[in-house]
Amino acid sequence: MTAGHLLTSWLDPSLFAATALGTLAGIWIGAIPGLSVTMAVSILVSFTFAWPLEPALALMAGVFTGGVYGGSRSAILLNIPGAPAAIATALDGYPMARRGEAGAAIGLTTLASFLGGMIGVAALALGAPAIAEVAILFAPRDYLLLAVLGLLLVGSLSGESLAKGLFAAGLGVTLGVVGLDPMTAEPRFTYGSVALLGGIPYIAAMIGFFGVAEALAQLRLADAETVRQRIGRIVPPRAALRRHLPLALRASGIGVAIGALPGTGGDIAALMAYDHARRSTRTPTHPFGTGAEEGVVAPEAANNAAVGGAYIPMLTLGIPGDAVTAVLIGALYVHGLKPGPMLMIETPHLFWFTVGNLTLANVALLAFGLAGARAFARIAEVPRAVLVPLILVLSVVGTFAIRNSLADVWWMLGFGITGYALRLYGFQPGPIILGMILGPLMDASWRRAVIAAGDDVLGAAVEATESAISLVLIAAIVLIALRSFSWGKGRKALPPTPHP
């Protein structure tokens, strides 16, 4: 029985260690201000390419789960979210710490993250097989529509303007199709360079955009002083657990749903859950924004639930749920796997292995989170002046490790410096990376859909109106486009990362 693979990583000591160490590393990196889980995953997975598949998957699951949770530490202790998914946590977590309740905030976030993470994994286990069965019915145009939906969502939600999001997505898509055309073998965007015929190494681009660019951006804040908080009791009293359980369950549901949408991830889920908590809680422990316990429970349950949710489109459709799963898809390709419905059908043991991994990672999160609360608090205080150069060295090693290629390292540096410049002007790297991953899929789906309709775009559009799946996707795209269409106008996006 393939579901028996649920226990593989629990019973194999090396896989158990890879998952636990991955979770620990994820928490550690996530706890460092400014270092996102995407950066952690980008850098760490590059070292696993020479590994067998199972330990690599185990490490990735751990890093992803731990990294999302770790971001809450610096949000609570320093008012600097360790990751975008922890922005909402800082709003009430830091005021709690200032009130001398840092330990309580850490305890609540740990338990909420564990609960959310487990609900996300349960949703993955129950939902993914069903979605994979539906996904077999998807026509090429449906993949195109799904990819457009993902890019539109990430473009509209991750930055200050839809125009910047769309430009970034267009740039990513273009970078993704550089090289020989898979259908006609015609070189595209190569300009006579033999090195470009194989395409742009996307793992190098990911490390550049998320590792180097983020590290350089953090260097601008190197003079910011860190503040030490006193950590008291960590495990919350039972009354608090009972009080917050219904909210944590609802927030987890939000997290799973948002995480499962292509292009959205833990950061959006956490903000939506925070908003839900604010609207639905009549008598919070303190007013929201001044240290309400509900203000840390809801976003933390949601962002960890979004991890399981983000795996659903990744494994069933081959579409990234968010930037981290975009990186993971890149890693799976390097390991010779092709995420999508056939992965679920041909290698179901890998799916159940991943579910088991994520479960183990959540248990490790609970253990490390509660036992290592004080140690992780010190990590959050490591000065950026030391940290940033170390990250840059790791980025170089990680990129070089992929193919032992210095050319890849130069690509990574180029993307890093470009990413730094784009970031200054409000461009997010997420749509670029998603575009790079989705570009080849969109290109192939577009052409297959048009060819199937006799090389007729209008014919392909008419065919789309005759399919229920296509109609649902078109309706979703139109709805999102109408809601977020504000070319050039300022829109309310994610709140900026606060600084001490």
């Binding site: 055309d181 965007f189 840059l392 170089v396 490790a401």
Partner: protein, 149 residues
């Protein structure tokens, strides 16, 4: 409420963005993007046109970039970029370990605005840790340097 100040040069940025979009559009046209919707150039043409439209909208937009009160390219960041480029350029010649050590010692000293024994020790310990973890445990091959052959 007053509009937040935009980063200097934010509107001008739309010009290189538009130029980049134009490059994509031209490549799409070269690949027959207009000849057939299933040609190799059709999708790049669509992507290029989307980028061009977005670049125009960015140029006309009000929110042309966040200004956070910090210099866009502080000397420390520029110098670290230069050190990083030097590190990668030196790696094939002198090898990963010496290049990484020199980079770390210089970059940490630069960030702390002083050369100290601490920076040198951190650099040495970090290179040793990278060697232990990545060379020995993860078996990552690191350049040894042509100079020492």
């Amino acid at each position: 409420m007053a509009e937040p100040a935009a980063r200097p040069g934010a509107r001008l940025l739309s010009l290189p963005l538009f130029a980049a979009a134009l490059v994509v559009v031209l490549e799409g046209l070269r690949l027959g993007g207009l000849d057939s919707p299933s040609s190799p150039g059709a999708f790049p043409l669509l992507a290029g046109l989307t980028m061009a439209g977005a670049a125009v909208a960015i140029g006309l937009g009000r929110h042309a970039g966040p200004a956070d009160g910090l210099k866009p390219l502080p000397g420390r960041v520029a110098a670290t970029m230069a050190l990083l480029v030097g590190f990668v350029a030196a790696m094939p010649l002198i090898g990963f370990h010496p290049a990484a050590f020199l980079f770390l010692a210089a970059a940490i000293s630069l960030s702390r605005r002083r050369l100290s024994l601490g920076a040198v020790l951190i650099a040495a310990a970090s290179v040793a840790a990278v060697h232990l973890v990545f060379r020995l445990a993860f078996t990552v091959l690191l350049p040894e340097g042509t100079l020492w052959r």
